[in-house]
């Protein structure tokens, strides 16, 4: 260990520890623009200059790349140091007068006026971008080009090259916004979109899947992480203070002995592109009910504001039965939840956009549950117009969308203008239903959902003893029906557990008998 005194405080550190690191352990602040914990020290900005005294001689050194020596004395804020830093800050401010990061550093050193000719640079040549690309990404797609006052950052010969993989690390690490990917490559980066936010918002490569996730911890997207894809980067491990990053963690397969199983694997929603006439995937303002759900959610990508291209829609059209009741799509059945959630969505639009014109196109309204017809009535009173007819097509007229449908009550085809079209897509069995059925030995009904033991009298049991079904894995159902079935499944499972416990007691003579 090496002993050092910094501003009168003494600390012992490992050999080769830098002065900056040692000072930070003592919580002594030293300004810097070019230091980064995931990168090798570089000494570019020189703002971290400190004064050291060793063997009676004192000198100014950059603390980020100067290692501690035995019995070294360090002054981080001597007059000589501050004078030097102020000069550096003034020069930086002259170069980049409009960059907030430089303004802050200068202000913290008491520098506000500049005696030199003012430039208008955004880049202060800290080199973080260049070093990230070389050290972490391993591509060296950008470097410093030009000399002296012409020094700048760019790809070799200012030409796009294949070396750049458009990972965006340079732009991400750049503290001033000087690095713009379009100046470095002609490749188009693919933003990662949040699955939970129905791909309406971006997410990071490390993210918490959704707010109620259990356990509520971040995961790394292995498919897109450069560390997993190319064996590089690994920057996150330097930042995680809890040292929780573990690249070697794998899924674990657990074998658990159980008496009974409740299957509650849920459902998928149909991809509405199977009905190309609605223009989903062609027009960004044709969305699914689930996407609308995120759009109107207070914790969603727009904080609950219903915005299309940044604007509130004037005309909103809802379309029922997209894919449902249609054997061509493989969905002969009624999805059962769409009538009511569409009514709820119409209600939400009215609540948030009092001036909007709201149209719901329907074939039949199935408001079958307790209180449902009353809610349907209420929504209609909220100036929501229900028109009978299944729309046949969505297309553009001028720069607006129109929904083309026969209003069967008018007996006329109409084109209804829309800024937002919401599709009530069909509930379908999960994509892995066949695999789950295989594992558990379950039978499925022709619609693909798990088959109950009897459609009327044993709707909670599966064809396998001690295996119960709950929720949409057995067929589309709304929340009250799901809860009822789930509780019945839980009760059935508990009966089996109680029976198992009782026979165990009989076998062992009983623990609390008598």
């Amino acid at each position: 260990m090496v002993r050092v005194t910094i501003d009168g405080q003494t600390i012992e550190v490992e050999p080769e520890t830098t002065i900056l690191e040692a000072a930070r352990r003592l919580r002594i602040p030293i300004p810097t623009l070019c230091h980064h914990p995931a990168l090798e020290p570089y000494g570019a900005c020189r703002l971290c200059t400190v004064e050291i005294t060793l063997g009676g001689r004192s000198q100014l050194v950059t603390s980020c790349n100067y290692p501690i020596r035995q019995e070294m004395e360090v002054q981080t804020a001597s007059e000589r140091v501050l004078k030097g830093r102020r000069m550096l800050a003034e020069l930086l401010l002259a170069r980049c007068p409009n960059v907030p990061q430089v303004q802050e550093v200068a202000a913290s050193l008491g520098v506000s006026t500049v005696r030199f000719e003012r430039g208008d640079e955004i880049c202060h040549l800290c080199g973080l971008c260049v070093r990230v690309c070389e050290e972490l990404i391993g591509q060296s797609a950008i470097s410093f080009i030009g000399r002296g006052v012409d020094r700048q950052v760019g790809p070799p010969f200012v030409k796009f090259s294949d070396a750049c993989i458009a990972c965006g690390a340079c732009a991400f690490v750049c503290p001033t916004g000087a690095i713009r990917l379009e100046n470095i490559t002609d490749k188009t980066p693919r933003p990662l979109l949040s699955e939970f936010d129905a791909r309406l918002a971006r997410r990071g490569n490390i993210y918490i899947p959704f707010p109620q996730a259990v356990p509520k911890v971040p995961v790394i997207d292995r498919e897109h992480c450069l560390h997993f894809a190319l064996g590089r980067c690994g920057a996150c491990q330097f930042f995680c203070e809890a040292k929780a990053i573990n690249y070697d963690q794998e899924d674990e397969l657990l074998e658990v002995d159980v008496e009974t199983i409740i299957v509650a694997t849920g459902f998928d929603l149909m991809d509405p592109r199977i009905k190309p006439e609605f223009g989903y995937g062609v027009y960004p303002n044709v969305i699914t009910g689930l996407e609308f759900e995120r759009l109107s959610s207070a914790s969603g990508p727009t904080a609950g504001k219903i915005l299309i291209n940044g604007k509130e829609p004037r005309d909103v059209v809802f379309i029922h039965c997209v894919g449902s009741r249609d054997p061509h799509t493989g969905v002969s059945y009624c999805s059962r939840i769409c009538c009511m959630y569409t009514a709820k969505h119409a209600h939400l639009v009215r609540d948030k956009l009092p001036q909007a014109r709201i149209t719901v196109f329907y074939m039949d309204v199935r408001a079958f549950g307790k209180g449902y017809e009353e809610f349907y009535d209420r929504v209609k009173h909220e100036r929501v117009v229900y028109r009978r007819g299944e729309p046949s097509e969505v297309y553009k007229k001028g720069d607006r969308l129109v929904v083309r449908a026969e209003d069967t009550l008018l007996r006329r085809t109409v084109e209804v203008e829309a800024d937002l079209v919401v599709l009530a897509t069909a509930v379908v069995p999960r994509g892995d239903a066949a695999a789950v059925a295989e594992v558990l030995g379950l039978q499925r009904t022709p619609d693909g959902f798990f088959q109950e033991a009897h459609p009327k009298y044993r709707p909670v049991e599966s064809n396998r003893p001690k295996v119960f079904l709950a929720g949409c894995c057995q067929g589309p159902k709304d929340i009250p029906d799901t809860v009822a079935q789930a509780k019945a499944a839980a009760a059935s499972a508990m009966a089996i557990l109680a029976e198992a416990a009782r026979s165990q007691d009989e076998f062992t003579g009983g623990t609390d008998a008598g």
Binding site: K396, A405, T413
Partner: protein, 373 residues
């Protein structure tokens, strides 16, 4: 006149209709004419159908089959219209021009009133091998492709391209007759039966392994309604796309044009051939390909099918072709490419009537291809 409603209901199983309106909602004519096929089904089911002889809009249907494609319950609404037309044909209550076309097909093998012996005039000097001597590939020309002067250059261009690719093919020449696709759709079931009964053995006797048609209409009926055994039926865009993929059709020239493409209903909506015509256009060096808004499954009908080449329709002020050429012009395209002789005729006329001749040219895909060979 009296309609045999019972026969229609049972033959077409109209009882499955849930009156959702998807058919009429998608019918391209339902906005501009009195045609409402959903209501026709309802009236038929309730046996309150008015005299079809007085429903002129029955002849408006282009048989684009958008209604059939989108019906969630497999009712096939357009077949009701064909069924009603059938009953009108039987009682002779059909528009005069439709009757003339049918008579011409019966007598001369084409609906255009031309003589059978002139059918091969388009191929003069091309020395096309008679298919009767046997051939691997049979070129089947639509009556329009053979006789219509606006279509003939496209037909000859196809021959030129096939030869450039080294494809050996034959033609039936003056023995070739109308395929009957529109004949069935105007309701002349008897004549259609006659055409298939004569056409099927004739086509099969050539020993051809594949038939290439110039029209999506011939393609549709030969492929789906003729029951040809062991013969692959292709629309020409499919064959040309295949030849391009195999590298057998090298382009040596360029065509510096902005081109958009109109999907024919009988090729696109009804037979799901969407990609091949686009692949051919995009393969032409120099072509900048742009799309209209309504394409593929959402394409707008040109209004030339289902016998509408022989019947004006009840609304001649708001023709769909008028709307379509404006949509094409809005893309900034200089050329509206088509893959069907009916579309060519309908859209070419519409461009002239709509005063777009300076901006937009309607051309068959083959006319474009040969310019870059």
């Amino acid at each position: 006149m009296q309609v045999d409603v019972q026969q229609l209901m049972e033959k077409l199983d109209l009882f499955g209709c849930i009156q959702c309106g998807k058919c009429t909602g998608g019918c391209p004519l339902s906005l501009t004419t009195a045609l409402n096929v959903r209501y026709l089904i309802y009236e038929t089911l309730l046996d309150v159908l008015p005299d079809p002889g007085k429903m002129e809009e029955l002849w408006d249907c282009t048989c684009c089959f958008t209604c059939v494609q989108r019906c969630p319950k497999d009712v096939k609404p357009a077949e009701l219209i064909i069924g009603l037309r059938s009953q009108l044909v039987e009682s002779g209550k059909i528009p005069g021009t439709v009757g003339d076309a049918l008579m011409s097909i019966f007598r001369q093998g084409n609906p255009l009133g031309f003589a059978r012996e002139d059918r091969a005039a388009w191929a003069e000097g091309l020395n096309i091998r008679p298919a009767q001597e046997g051939c691997e590939t049979l070129l089947f020309t639509c009556c329009s492709s053979a006789y219509d002067v606006r279509s003939q250059p496209a037909t000859r261009a196809l021959v030129q391209a096939l030869r450039a690719a080294g494809v050996e093919f034959g033609s039936l020449g003056t023995e070739e007759s109308c395929c009957g696709n529109e004949v069935r759709r105007v309701g002349e079931a008897g004549l259609f039966e006659m055409l298939t009964e004569e056409g099927k053995p004739l086509l099969e006797s050539t020993g051809a392994r594949r038939i290439v048609t110039t029209s999506p209409h011939c393609f549709n009926t030969l492929k789906n309604e003729y029951n040809l055994s062991g013969i692959e039926v292709l629309h020409y865009t499919q064959l040309i796309a295949r030849l391009l993929e195999e590298g057998r059709l090298p382009f040596s020239g360029r065509l510096e044009k902005t081109v958009t493409y109109h999907d024919p209903c009988f090729l696109g909506k009804q037979n799901h051939v969407f990609d091949e015509p686009r692949a051919v256009l995009q393969a032409i060096p120099g072509v900048r390909f742009v799309e209209m808004d309504r394409i593929r499954e959402r394409s707008l009908c040109c209004e030339g099918g289902g016998g509408r080449m022989w019947f004006e329709g009840t609304n001649t002020e708001q023709r769909l072709a008028f709307q379509r050429v404006h949509e094409a012009a809005e893309t900034g395209a200089e050329v509206l490419a088509v893959a069907c002789p009916f579309c060519l005729a309908m859209l070419d006329d519409a461009v002239k009537v709509q005063g777009l001749s300076e901006r937009l040219k309607v051309m068959d895909i083959m006319e474009l291809v040969v310019q870059a060979l």
